[in-house]
């Protein structure tokens, strides 16, 4: 069971990576407009 001492912090650290990515995405404006990109994708230019 000692493996838990490593696995739990590891799991949280992995989760934290995604939390940091989320914060970066939010700060970078990825969530500012959720309606246009799907329409934009259909246009080729």
């Amino acid at each position: 069971m000692d493996i838990l001492l490593i696995l739990i912090p590891l799991a949280i650290a992995m989760g934290a990576v995604f939390a940091v990515l989320f914060v970066r995405a939010a700060r970078g404006g990825q969530f500012d407009d959720l309606e246009d990109p799907p329409i934009r994708m259909l246009q080729d230019d």
Partner: protein
């Protein structure tokens, strides 16, 4: 620009049945490949010159017809960037399909000096980055306007805030925190390796730290601001609870025991969810009502010694003499010196019908010249003009403080009582038991009494209410104003454009007269012409093509239809005569008519216990007649815009529904003002709510939604207060430990969320009730 390849114009000009259409806007034209107006021709040529002819192939709907540019572009705020470029926002109205966003973006990007342009199809918000030494916003707006879209100025581009990041962090940390805490709780019963217990406790503290310091920061900032302003709001007890929970948690961890850190995480996460929802509702509402567009032209033709010069309107001085003619907009407020003509002065009178002006008449900036050539003496310029004063009034109205929500009103009491009870209970336990037990009870009291349910109850119900009402066609800027609507006993309404359709419609006409007149009116842009064509189309008539059409502005239109000479002209108010071969054979009766759902909507409002009043600038007799037809309780005619505002101020708690620029003062004066969205970019909104559909039913839905929201907020407040009393009682009795708190807290929040989710259903139930009674 006149060297357009005719073959291509022919290709986009389509023939449907016997109707030929303009290659740009799709309106009917007489010959294949011809344009309906010079505006469309310019737009078509511009798109081809810019290499954007693909637009015609990819669009789903015909393009809009170009209208002259309006708006005070020189005062639009821009953001300077470190690289010397500037960023500005504008809103483009008239986007009909995704190709429209494509063409507007490309046009802007290909303009000189533009670095980047993005257009949002959802709301028309356009962000453009350009070099201010090469071009200016007005020029860019002109480019967009020239192809038929309607750009309007909006306020500065808004900054992004951290709320979403905070919520993401809090949600991630809390879910892991609960994992650790749950293990610890199970460990109470089953026993646990002390090494794990220590790891989990310190792990929990490590996870809780960013929650308290980063995610919960807005609550501390809000609490601090409130304390400085000596107005204790909901943020104060929330910040207090977070601080106590965290400090207690640190202390417990060091002492080798469990704190309430999981409750802390849950509290912060749920409250942030409430904030995000609330803000989303408010932002959607703000965007829809941000159409504050002053209707001033950019330049004016000023008389100087021996000629006329074109100057920017901001260079005009009082006493200058300026000239203007058909198609122009009046550049400043003033008085006509010479010349005669007809102006559309919706700004002052609210009537869309043009009025005749002659030397001595007063004219206002932004009025549209329908016909004639005139010169005027400038009396008021810039900020002093009627249009700019209205814009200023709007700015003031939007900046006025939001009313305090009921939860905020309870907050000081709530804080005082909770803290008082916690201190007394803690001291009592410390006296009769041990000091540690005293601290435990005091903290437990603060935890279970934590204002989570209370803090969530209002924003969630309000967000649900704003959303439900918006789906039914009224977008409100803030929840406080929506709830204020619930308590209003009287609703005043403007007549033209609110209770009535606001555009002339054919009331009575034979098919033959519509065919004859319609053939000629195709070439005309007069509102009557549109009414006649619309009615003809609605009746499914085949409208022939006329030749030799001559329009005399202010008089009428004539031409040859099916080999006969036809004359169409105004024959007194509300009547259009159609002469065939010089003999009047048909009369078309036109006029403004009540909206189809007006009568039913007003009956429903009566069932809801709301008194309805018609306030109009029109003649008292006309107002009363329309009032009787739709069934309002009172009709007051002959009101100037200021009279309406005065009436609303006098009768304190009255809501108002109006439209257009001239209702600005009334919308501001009303306790709750709602504006009908007319789609005209010049309409100036000062309203708390915007009715997004051309009908009155949304107004009824707004009243129902307001009452549903108010009820939900009230019952939620009662629920959370009841919960708090019970929970605090248990805490004082020493029955609460971290595990019990972890179960009680989400339970109380769930209760409140369920209450908020009931709002849309309650809205529908109320509406049904009013319809049947």
């Amino acid at each position: 620009m006149s060297t357009r390849p005719v073959a291509e114009a022919l290709a986009t000009s389509t023939t449907t049945g016997e109707e030929l259409s303009c290659p740009h806007c799709g309106d009917a034209v007489a010959t294949l490949g011809a344009f309906c107006c010079s505006g469309c021709e310019v737009a078509w040529a511009m798109l081809h010159e810019a290499g954007l002819q693909d637009y015609y192939a990819r669009r789903e709907e015909p393009g809009p017809r170009p209208e002259p540019l309006r708006g005070a572009w020189q005062v639009v705020p821009v953001v300077e960037r470190p690289d010397g470029l500037v960023e500005a926002s504008l809103c483009v109205d008239g986007l009909r399909c995704s190709s429209c966003t494509w063409v507007v973006e490309r046009l802007l990007e290909r303009s000189e000096g533009v670095e980047e342009a993005t257009v949002s199809y959802a709301n028309g918000r356009t962000r453009v980055v350009f070099d201010p030494t090469v071009t200016e916003l007005g020029t860019l707006a002109q480019t967009v306007a020239a192809v038929g879209y309607a750009p309007r100025p909006v306020d500065a581009p808004e900054g992004r805030d951290e709320l979403l990041s905070r919520l993401g962090v809090a949600a991630f940390l809390t879910s892991n925190l609960m994992l650790l805490s749950t293990s610890l709780y199970i460990g109470w019963f089953d026993g646990m390796d002390p090494r794990y217990a220590t790891l989990f406790r310190w792990g929990a503290l490590a996870l809780a730290t960013p929650i308290a310091l980063y995610a919960a920061a807005p609550f501390f900032v809000g609490a601090w601001r409130g304390l400085k302003a000596r107005a204790i709001g909901m943020d104060v007890p929330i910040a207090l609870a977070v601080a106590v929970l965290y400090v207690h948690g640190v202390w417990q961890t060091m002492a080798g025991a469990e704190g309430y850190l999981d409750s802390l995480g849950m509290l912060v996460t749920l409250l942030l969810v409430g904030r995000v929802l609330e803000r989303r509702g408010r932002r959607a509402a703000a965007e829809a009502s941000a159409a504050i567009a002053a209707s001033l032209p950019l330049t004016a033709r000023r008389r100087v010694d021996g000629g006329v010069e074109e100057v920017p309107v901001q260079h005009l001085l009082v006493g200058d003499i300026v000239e203007f003619g058909a198609g122009d907009e009046v550049p400043a407020d003033g008085r006509v010196r010479e010349g005669k003509g007809r102006l559309q002065m919706a700004l002052l009178t609210g009537e869309s019908e043009p009025v005749a002006v002659a030397p001595g008449s007063e004219v206002v900036a932004g009025a549209q010249v329908v016909s004639g050539t005139m010169a005027m003496t400038v009396e008021r310029v810039g900020e002093a003009t009627t249009a700019m004063r209205m814009a200023e009034a709007v700015r003031e109205a939007t900046a006025r403080p939001m009313p305090r929500s009921p939860a905020d009103a309870l907050a000081p009491w709530f804080t005082a009582i909770t803290v008082g009870v916690a201190v007394i209970a803690g001291l009592a336990w410390a006296w009769f038991d041990t000091p540690e037990r005293g601290i435990q009870v005091a903290v437990a009291t603060l935890v279970v009494a934590c204002p989570c349910a209370l803090g969530l109850s209002v924003p969630l119900s309000v967000a649900a209410g704003l959303g439900a009402v918006a789906r039914r066609g009224v977008v409100f800027r803030d929840g406080g104003q929506l709830m204020a609507l619930a308590d209003l006993g009287t609703l005043a309404m403007d007549k033209t454009g609110t209770v009535t359709e606001g555009v002339p419609a054919v009331l009575e006409a034979s098919d033959e007269s519509l065919r004859m007149a319609g053939a000629l009116e195709r070439a005309s842009r007069h509102p009557m012409a549109r009414a006649i064509l619309a009615e003809g189309r609605a009746r499914g008539l085949r409208i022939p093509v006329a030749s030799e059409v001559v329009e005399t502005p202010g008089k009428g239109i004539e031409g040859i239809v099916e080999g006969r000479r036809v004359d169409v002209y105004g024959a007194g108010p509300g009547a259009v005569a159609v002469d065939v071969e010089g003999e009047t054979v048909h009369l078309i009766r036109v006029g403004d008519r009540p909206r189809p759902d007006a009568q039913q909507a007003i009956a429903r409002l009566r069932a809801a216990g709301v008194t309805t009043v018609l306030l109009s600038g029109d003649h008292p007799e006309v107002t009363e007649a329309i009032g009787r037809r739709v069934g309002v309780d009172q009709g007051i005619g002959g009101c100037s815009p200021d009279d309406k505002a005065a009436w609303l101020v006098q009768h304190d708690d009255v809501g108002f529904v109006g439209d257009g620029l001239n209702d600005g003062p009334a919308l501001a004066a009303a306790r709750v003002g709602m504006a009908m969205f007319s789609g005209v970019p010049s309409s100036l909104w000062i309203a708390d709510g915007v009715v997004t559909r051309p009908a009155l039913a949304p107004v009824v839905a707004a009243v129902a939604g307001a009452r549903a929201t108010r009820d939900a907020v009230r019952s939620n407040l009662i629920r959370s207060v009841a919960y708090n009393i019970l929970a605090v009682g248990a805490a004082v009795a020493g029955l609460i430990n971290p595990l019990v708190a972890a179960i009680l807290m989400p339970l109380s929040s769930g209760l409140v969320i369920a209450g908020a989710l009931m709002v849309p259903r309650r809205l529908e139930r109320l509406e049904k009730q009013w319809t049947s009674s």
